[in-house]
Symmetry: C2
């Protein structure tokens, strides 16, 4: 097969590929990471690139994504275009994944970059104590892996029980487990370790049900060196906290973009990759590389040895959890949405290629259903919802909205397929909340005031920007209650685009690409459908429970854009219920916090299992009233504005 | 390094070895198996060979083992003699291990050979039921690995719990475990297995504490194909029974000689090998080869697949159990005699290289102390000692004598180092109970009547033959009550040997080697010390418990020569207590029987654990009265004959 050279600009990255290779694959091979929401299916139009030298074979169907002018300039979809000769390809800013840039940075500069560019929210790395949150239920500090130093009495002819019995006898004096098991791997060199160390050893224990399991026996006293990691395995980003398991203190935190993005940006496209032409192994290896990189970086920065990390708790949605463990996620996608497992067995980290202590374990947070995962269970833990009599609600807004309401007596959950509108998909200028994204918008008269992440020139609009924008368009009567542009309106920013009406958010001279940044009627419709799905889901759960919104003491908002959301505007456009604003609390990465709490307390982890098994999960698709609620929510803020959104004024 | 050719006769086996290689190692390399009680230390004198061509370098210390005449004929100790040029070496019959010959035989002829040559005792292979023995406590049939066929209801949107939950829900209907765990290895392809099999699968379960552990999930109904193996891992022989785990029936049995014999014949010489110049790995691999060969032979003979064998229960002494699992046995040998472990964790058979089902488990019978192993615990199970109010006693006579007494309220154990006299060591003409061994002896006047195994010409005397011989010598007053030859006696068979008095058992024309088969005073002394150690141990336990012998309802005699022992003579020479003869029962391979009972019943296995943990083990070395008992037992039958052996008449 013929080979051709492809050079990617502006980075001058070069690679050689077989004829017929797609530009998306060629880019991956060259180490250039392109946006690809659909995973290379040619339907999202996010992997736009410009062929500036040489000819490529373009799939006809992809033409619909471009104007004539663009086509003449050589714009193509990378995933639908195949190499036919040597090429030079320019990656426009909007098609780049930030990833590459981030991963290459040194620890020092990365820290800085993360603070500027906000997709990843985490607690401060400075020795946050376990009990930082007042309602943190981790009252019983008992890490999932703990180290106990024991100084054994030497055997004599009057006391010649086996070595294992001697160890267990000593552990019984210090701990309270009904029984103990010493794993086979510990036995192999136990004979020599005990005698060489003069009977002074440190035992690493985990607890499984009521059994104390001895994972490791080290010579001498190493009890001071016991670390764990809490990992939030997000579809977009992976974040790890390094925790001192002796003190419970957080030592550091690092994040990176989920390397699975090469194979599709959202959960459904990754499932499609695994269950179609792709391989589970690729995705599993990708996320494990994420975790290994984070752990290595953290260990290096804090001067600790990888071998002293004995336990990981990972929280992710059900698909991420399955892929992490190498389990097929295919049945998650299809009706009736059945995952393989909800209670993930504890395994040795090395079994899946995660490099910590050779006997270190990884425990994945239990999930509830195909679209309510361990990240939500972790959120319930972090918000202490299951241990208080007050009625509270957790809303995690992403491509899927996950909603939990309840208290210490019962919990209800559901998930709503919101679509990727709030995460940069489904809209022409939508983008992730990275540098250059418009995150805040205000419209006054004919003036649009916006703020971008990193104060850069706008490259697109992220979720919080879109929410602001829709609210502002409605407040300024540029769109009506049914979210349609008023056709009779006179506004210099309202223009007739190729197929539909568009509103200019930024003029060419303002933007990074020099193009006009607009929001069209289709974009607005997509956003409205997303917010309607989420609000209808919340409303359905509230109705199912026989409650009204004002009975909610708290609404916890989790997820990527939580901290940057303007509550007033989110309520105003009908995304969040109209309750007193002080009852709405942003909890940031509650998945990571819940994972850390479980890492630090076996009892919290048991609570997580109990939550996952006792929660009542509602499948909205079989909940008759959801469709009506959804239809009623396709308005700004809602068709029943008087009753449901009395405080919204515009 | 120079290489030389060594040819071993009479088999014409040839090998090439480096200069300075010992003849013992060369023989091993050539596939010729020599006796070696001491493991190549040059102290047992069992590996005699005759160099008939070429010169070898002989260690001076080994000269003591040979007469001048023998030395002139080229007799040397193989372990103390090194190759210096090309050699031809003749292996005399008494130095050959039978092993090689046995392992090469086909299944049909082996079966025959085993029946003729009796080192291995086992129940008949013809479908022996679980409850063959009336006192068999295996009343609750629940194999350690069982298969359950389940036909799962297909998931619907109203019933879309995870696949694992669906399986567990169905298992709960059929079984009674409080909880279930599905091992990680089962999850990997569960998604596809369930759907491909139309939700009809067979689950292989083991029970660990109160948890039902799913080891394997197979498509379709395979519940009829579930087999297990009970294995007695003896120091000398390894015996395996193939058991149908669905019905509990024994399908077949096979035995072979423990291949570890290459590295030393008894437990202490093997420990010396492992903890000295040798390697644990060699010994572990050897016994695992034994087990794999037995299982393959049994599976082939019965037409079953190795993959359908899901569980093994192995019983052996503490050293054999440690080596099987790859655990260092060094501390077992030295005061204060501490093994690494008594409760062996269940492991996957493949973890140690035993080839059965990939998820099949191996469970080693728990041991009590360094010299009371899982074989004894199995014996206690087989004799149902721990569940009956009657006081009984189990005596297992080998290089170590293991003794247990007690009932359903308490159990006492001890072990006595008897030396290898009853197993062919420590006496000039002693040999294992294999072909050509004198196993029965009667002396009348000047006539010696003997019977050999296989009716061959005598090659030596095995344990039961030695017991008969000592009794007969005493009965005929050829030796006195202090076990010394009466110097004044006139008997044509009583001769003055090189250093001491000897009694001719067989004249040169009767024996296979053409040599005179004698028993010397040193031989007799060694046998008396062995029997004294065992009797004193029994007596010490009885005294410790405050009992007398007549309170024993039963004495079970286990071990290699049990079935061939003449009770009257064993009592007469003071080895067994003088109780009514019908109370003495030979139980043959009670280790194998106990292992099978545990294989077939989780409850029996739990009983084994409880026995190993609750038994009171007495270290005779710290039991003050043992030394006195031992001294008093160095007589025929005992110094206190009137009180302890009233029925012995000679």
């Amino acid at each position: 097969m013929k080979k051709y050279k492809v050079i990617f600009l502006p980075d001058q990255k070069e690679t050689e590929v077989d004829e017929e290779t797609t530009l998306l694959e060629a880019a991956k091979k060259a180490g250039v990471y392109l946006n690809s929401l659909c995973g290379g299916e040619g339907v999202c139009g996010k992997c736009r690139v410009q062929v500036i030298k040489g000819k490529a074979k373009v799939d006809k169907n992809s033409i619909a994504f471009f104007t004539k002018e663009e086509m003449e300039k050589g714009y193509v979809l990378a995933c639908q275009t195949r190499v036919k000769e040597d090429l030079e390809v320019l990656i426009p800013p909007e098609s780049r994944l930030e990833e590459e840039q981030i991963l290459k940075e040194s620890i020092e500069s990365k820290q800085k970059t993360w603070r500027e560019s906000p997709p990843i929210h985490y607690s401060e790395p400075d020795w946050v104590s376990l009990h930082k949150r007042p309602n943190d239920p981790a009252s019983l500090f008992e890490p999932l892996a703990s180290k106990i130093y024991i100084d054994l009495p030497k055997p004599t002819i009057d006391d010649n029980i086996p070595d294992t019995g001697r160890i267990v006898r000593e552990l019984r004096k210090k701990l309270k487990y009904p029984s103990y098991e010493i794993t086979f791997s510990c036995l192999k060199d136990l004979f020599i370790k005990l005698r060489r160390s003069d009977w002074k050893v440190t035992v690493t224990l985990s607890r499984h049900n009521d059994v104390g399991q001895v994972l490791q026996i080290e010579e001498g006293n190493t009890a001071d060196r016991n670390y764990g990691a809490a990992v939030d395995v997000g579809t977009t980003t992976v974040v790890a906290q390094l925790v001192d398991l002796k003190t419970g203190k957080v030592m550091g935190v690092e994040g990176n973009h989920n390397l699975q993005a090469h194979y599709g940006e959202d959960v459904l496209s990754r499932i499609a990759y695994v269950c179609g032409k792709g391989s589970l192994d690729h995705l599993q290896k990708a996320v494990i590389e994420n975790i290994n990189m984070l752990i290595q970086t953290l260990a290096k920065a804090k001067g600790i040895k990888i071998e002293d990390i004995t336990c990981i708790v990972a929280a992710g949605n059900t698909t991420m959890s399955h892929i992490l463990l190498g389990l097929m996620p295919c049945s998650i996608r299809d009706d009736p949405y059945v995952p393989t497992v909800d209670l993930y067995p504890p395994i040795l980290a090395k079994e899946i290629g995660v490099t910590i202590n050779a006997q270190g374990i990884i425990q994945v947070m239990p999930s509830i259903a195909s679209y309510i995962g361990g990240d939500t269970v972790a959120g319930v833990l972090a918000c202490n919802m299951a241990d208080r009599p007050e009625m509270t609600c957790l809303i995690d807004i992403g491509t899927n909205g996950e909603i939990v309401i309840g208290n210490n007596e019962w919990l209800l959950s559901c998930s709503a397929s919101a679509g990727p509108a709030f995460e940069g998909g489904d809209t022409k200028w939508g983008m992730r909340a990275t540098r250059g994204a418009i995150q805040k918008v205000k419209i006054d008269g004919g003036t649009v005031i916006y703020e971008t992440i990193g104060k850069d020139k706008p490259r697109g609009i992220c979720g919080s920007g879109l929410i602001d924008l829709i609210y502002e368009l409605a407040r300024n009567r540029i769109i009506d209650i049914d979210a349609k542009f008023g056709s009779s309106l006179q506004d210099k920013r309202l223009i007739r685009g190729e197929n539909e009406m568009e509103y200019i958010v930024a003029f060419p001279e303002e933007t990074e690409t020099g193009e006009t940044l607009v929001i069209g009627q289709t974009d607005i419709d997509n956003i409205i459908r997303s917010k309607a799905a989420i609000f209808a889901a919340i409303k359905s759960l509230i109705d199912y429970a026989g409650l009204s919104f004002d009975q909610l003491e708290k609404i916890y908002v989790a997820g990527g854009f939580g901290n940057y959301l303007n509550v007033e505007k989110a309520i105003g456009m009908g995304l969040l219920p109209d309750i007193p604003r002080e009852r709405i609390e942003f909890v940031g990465n509650s998945s990571l916090m819940g994972a850390r709490m479980a890492l630090l307390s076996f009892h919290v982890f048991e609570k997580a299992i109990s939550i996952s098994q006792s929660i009542t999960h509602i499948e909205l698709s079989k909940f008759a009233l959801f469709a009506d609620e959804y239809m009623a929510s396709l308005y700004l803020p809602h068709i029943d504005r008087e009753r449901l959104f009395p405080s919204v004024k515009f």
